[in-house]
C-alpha cells in the first residue's frame, strides 16, 4: 500500500476530531485565561473586562521573581534526579528476566494510581518524628534520637521525584529495550569496563530520549502544588501554590491568570531552549 499525501478536504477528515477537541479543551480555555489576565481587578469584588497591565506589573517584583526562580529550580532538580536514577535503573531492568521486568513495571504503574494527596500524606508520616523512619534508625543504633525530616527541601524533592519516577521509567523503557545490545558488547570486547561502556556508549545513544524525559519530568514537576505545601516550608512553595491562593482564596482571577500565563511562557521558552540545544549538539 502506497501512502499518498491528502488530496481533498475529506482526506483530512480524521484530523477534525482531535483538532476540535484540542480547540475546545485547550485553545479556548487558554485564550480565556490570557484574556482574563488583562482584566481589571476589583478589590473587594470581582473583576471587570478591560485591558490593563497591572496584573503583570505586580508580578514583576523581586519576591515573585524569587518564587518563580525556585519553582524552575525545583522542577529542574526533580527532572535531573529522576533521570540520574531512572536511566541506570531502566537499563538494568531492560536486561533482566521477563518476570522481574513485569514485577517492577506493575509496581511502578501502581504508584500512578496513587493521588498526590496520598503520596504527600504518606511521605509526611514517613518523615515525621513520632512515626517516621528515623525511629527505625534509632532502633538500628544509627541515630541517638528520632527527628522530623519534614518540612524541608529534601522532603519535597523526595516526594516529587517519587511521584515522577514511574513516568521517567515508562518513557525510557521502550528506548532501552530496543537498544541494540551489541553496541555495549562491542565496547566491552574492545576493553571498556561495564561502567565505561554505559557512559560512553549507552548514554550518548540515548541522548534524545534522555532529553525528552528531562523535559517531560520538568513540566510535570512545574505544575506541582500540593507536595510543596504538605512537605515544605513557605520558602519551598512554588508559583503554583501562590496561583491557587490568588484564584481560590483571594478571588483575584486576573492576577492568578497573569501568573499562570507567565509560568507557561517561561516553561515553553526553557523547553524550546533545551530542544534547540539538543539539535545544535546533534548537528555537530
Amino acid at each position: 500500500m502506497r501512502r499518498e499525501p491528502p488530496q481533498r478536504l475529506g482526506d483530512y477528515g480524521p484530523l477534525f476530531f482531535p483538532a476540535g477537541m484540542l480547540t475546545l479543551f485547550f485553545v479556548v480555555p487558554f485564550a480565556t485565561m490570557i484574556a482574563v489576565s488583562f482584566f481589571q481587578r476589583q478589590q473587594g469584588g470581582f473583576y471587570t473586562p478591560a485591558f490593563v497591565l497591572d496584573n503583570y506589573a505586580r508580578f514583576l517584583s523581586l519576591f515573585f521573581g524569587k518564587v518563580l526562580g525556585f519553582s524552575l529550580f525545583l522542577a529542574v532538580a526533580v527532572a535531573i534526579a529522576c533521570v540520574v536514577v531512572g536511566v541506570p535503573f531502566t537499563y538494568l531492568l531492560a536486561r533482566s528476566s521477563r518476570k522481574t521486568q513485569i514485577a517492577w513495571l506493575v509496581a511502578l504503574l501502581s504508584i500512578l494510581s496513587l493521588s498526590e494527596v496520598m503520596i504527600g500524606f504518606a511521605w509526611s508520616t514517613l518523615f515525621s518524628r513520632t512515626a517516621g523512619i528515623t525511629n527505625l534508625f534509632v532502633w538500628l543504633g544509627l541515630m541517638s534520637q528520632a527527628q522530623a525530616l519534614t518540612p524541608s527541601f529534601g522532603a519535597v524533592m523526595t516526594a516529587m521525584a517519587y511521584q515522577a519516577f514511574p513516568y521517567t521509567v515508562l518513557v525510557l523503557y521502550p528506548a532501552l529495550v530496543r537498544l541494540d545490545p551489541t553496541l555495549s558488547e562491542a565496547a566491552r570486547t574492545l576493553g571498556a569496563s561495564p561502567a565505561k561502556a554505559f557512559f560512553t556508549v549507552v548514554v550518548p545513544a540515548l541522548r534524545n530520549t534522555i532529553l525528552a524525559t528531562l523535559i517531560m519530568v520538568f513540566i510535570f514537576a512545574l505544575g506541582s502544588y500540593l507536595l510543596p505545601q504538605l512537605l515544605g516550608r513557605p520558602q519551598h512553595w512554588t508559583l503554583s501554590v501562590l496561583i491557587t491562593d490568588q484564584a481560590i482564596y483571594q478571588s483575584n482571577m486576573p492576577f492568578a491568570a497573569a501568573m499562570a500565563v507567565f509560568l507557561v511562557l517561561v516553561s515553553l521558552a526553557l523547553v524550546g531552549l533545551a530542544v534547540y540545544a539538543g539539535r545544535q549538539k546533534e548537528a555537530k
Binding site: G44, L230, I248, S251, N252
Partner: protein, 362 residues
C-alpha cells in the same frame, strides 16, 4: 418481553420514561411540596448532612415549606456563582450561608436582598454584631452560626495549658506551632493586635498593620507548619508531632472526647470568633419563605440544637439558651472574643495578602 419493547413502546419512550423516573428519584423533596419550597445553600459535607438531618426536616414539619438543600463550596466560589446567576436573573439557592468576607463583597454589588426585620421577630434574640447591615442601614444578612478558632495544644507535650496567645511567641515553642496559612483565614493579625497592641483598632492604619506583621514575623522560627489543609494539622496535633497551634474549638473538643491528648484553650485575650450569615439572593422569588426560614433559625431552641448536634456556637444571647454550662463550653466561651476585621479583607485585601505572603515565604 422483547416484543413489547420493540413494538408497543418505542425506544425513545422507554428512554424518556427512564430519564423522568431518574429525575423524580433525584428530587423527592420538590415533588412532596410543590407549592411552598425554599432552596437553602449550606457548606457541603458534614455541615449539609447535619442540617439535613437535624434542622431542615423539622422546619418543613413546622412551616409546611419544603427545603431543598444545596451543597455550596467553601471559599468564594459560591459567591461568584450566585453573583453571575443573579445577573442572569436566576438563584441557584434562595438563602445561602455566607462567610463574612463574602457578605461584604456581595454587598458591594447589592447581591443580597434587604431583609425586613418586622418579619423576623426572633432577630431581637441575636447578639448585635450578628446583624449584617448595608451602609444605609438595611439588613443584608442575619447570623446563622458561629465558631471559634482557639489556641490548641497537645497535653502530653505541654502539661500546663497556655493562658495567652503570647505563649506562641515564647522561646520553648521553637518549631512546634501549626498555624493557618492565609491572612484571611488565620486572623493572626487580629490576634497580634489584641495581644500586643491593645486591640484590633490598631490595624486601622497601614503602619499598624505593618507593625503587627513585624511582630508576627518573630513567630516564624516557631512555626513548623503553615497549613491550608485541616486534616494535616489535626493529625500532627494528636500525635504530638506539632504540639501547639490554632485550630477549631469544636473539632478539638471532639478529638479530646475521643481520648486524644489534645486541649483547646480560650486565651485571656479571647478566641477568634468567625461566623456565617443567612443571606437572600436578590434574584430569589421566595422572599416570604426566606423570612420564615431565617426567623425559624433565630429561635433559642434551634440554636441550642445546632450547638448540641452540629457543634456551632450560638449567634443569640447566652441567657436565652437552655444550654448547660458544659454544653456551652463545648462550643463557646464567656470571654470576649477576638472579632476579625472583615472590613480590612475587603478594602485592603491585596495589600494584606501581598505583605502576608512576603512575610511568611520571604
Amino acid at each position: 418481553m422483547s416484543d413489547i419493547f420493540n413494538n408497543k413502546i418505542g425506544r425513545r419512550a422507554v428512554l424518556g420514561g427512564g430519564i423522568a423516573g431518574a429525575s423524580m428519584l433525584a428530587m423527592p423533596a420538590v415533588l412532596r411540596a410543590q407549592d411552598k419550597s425554599l432552596k437553602v445553600g449550606v457548606y457541603g459535607g458534614y455541615f449539609k448532612d447535619s442540617f439535613d438531618k437535624n434542622i431542615f426536616a423539622d422546619f418543613t414539619k413546622a412551616s409546611g415549606i419544603a427545603v431543598e438543600s444545596v451543597a455550596e463550596p467553601t471559599g468564594e466560589a459560591w459567591l461568584v456563582q450566585l453573583e453571575q446567576a443573579a445577573k442572569a436573573g436566576a438563584a441557584p439557592a434562595d438563602v445561602s450561608m455566607m462567610s463574612q468576607v463574602s457578605m461584604l463583597k456581595g454587598q458591594s454589588t447589592n447581591l443580597w436582598a434587604p431583609l425586613d426585620l418586622a418579619k423576623i421577630p426572633n432577630a431581637k434574640n441575636l447578639i448585635d454584631r450578628f446583624v449584617n447591615k448595608y451602609p444605609d442601614g438595611k439588613v443584608a444578612g442575619i447570623g446563622a452560626v458561629s465558631w471559634y478558632i482557639t489556641l490548641v495544644s497537645n497535653t502530653d507535650v505541654f502539661k500546663e495549658a497556655p493562658t495567652s496567645w503570647a505563649a506562641m511567641w515564647e522561646k520553648d515553642k521553637e518549631d512546634k506551632l501549626g498555624l493557618l496559612a492565609l491572612v484571611s483565614n488565620s486572623f493572626l493579625l487580629e490576634v497580634t493586635a489584641k495581644t500586643f497592641m491593645g486591640g484590633t483598632k490598631a490595624l486601622d492604619t497601614e503602619e499598624g498593620i505593618v507593625k503587627a506583621l513585624e511582630k508576627l514575623a518573630e513567630l516564624k522560627p516557631n512555626v513548623r507548619l503553615w497549613y491550608r489543609d485541616e486534616a494535616q494539622f489535626e493529625q500532627a496535633l494528636k500525635s504530638g508531632e506539632i504540639p501547639m497551634g490554632q485550630y477549631y474549638h469544636d473539632v478539638t473538643g471532639l478529638a479530646a472526647a475521643d481520648g486524644n491528648p489534645v486541649r483547646s484553650t480560650f486565651p485571656k485575650e479571647g478566641g477568634i470568633q468567625d461566623s456565617g450569615c443567612w443571606a437572600l439572593s436578590r434574584a430569589s422569588k421566595k422572599t416570604e419563605e426566606a423570612h420564615t426560614f431565617i426567623n425559624y433559625m433565630c429561635q433559642p431552641a434551634i440554636q441550642a440544637i445546632l450547638s448540641r448536634k452540629v457543634g456551632t456556637a450560638p449567634t443569640i444571647k447566652r441567657d436565652l439558651l437552655d444550654l448547660t454550662a458544659e454544653e456551652f463550653a463545648a462550643v463557646s466561651s464567656e470571654i470576649e472574643p477576638i472579632v476579625p476585621r472583615y472590613d480590612l479583607y475587603q478594602t485592603k485585601s491585596d495589600f494584606l495578602n501581598q505583605k502576608w505572603t512576603e512575610m511568611i515565604a520571604g
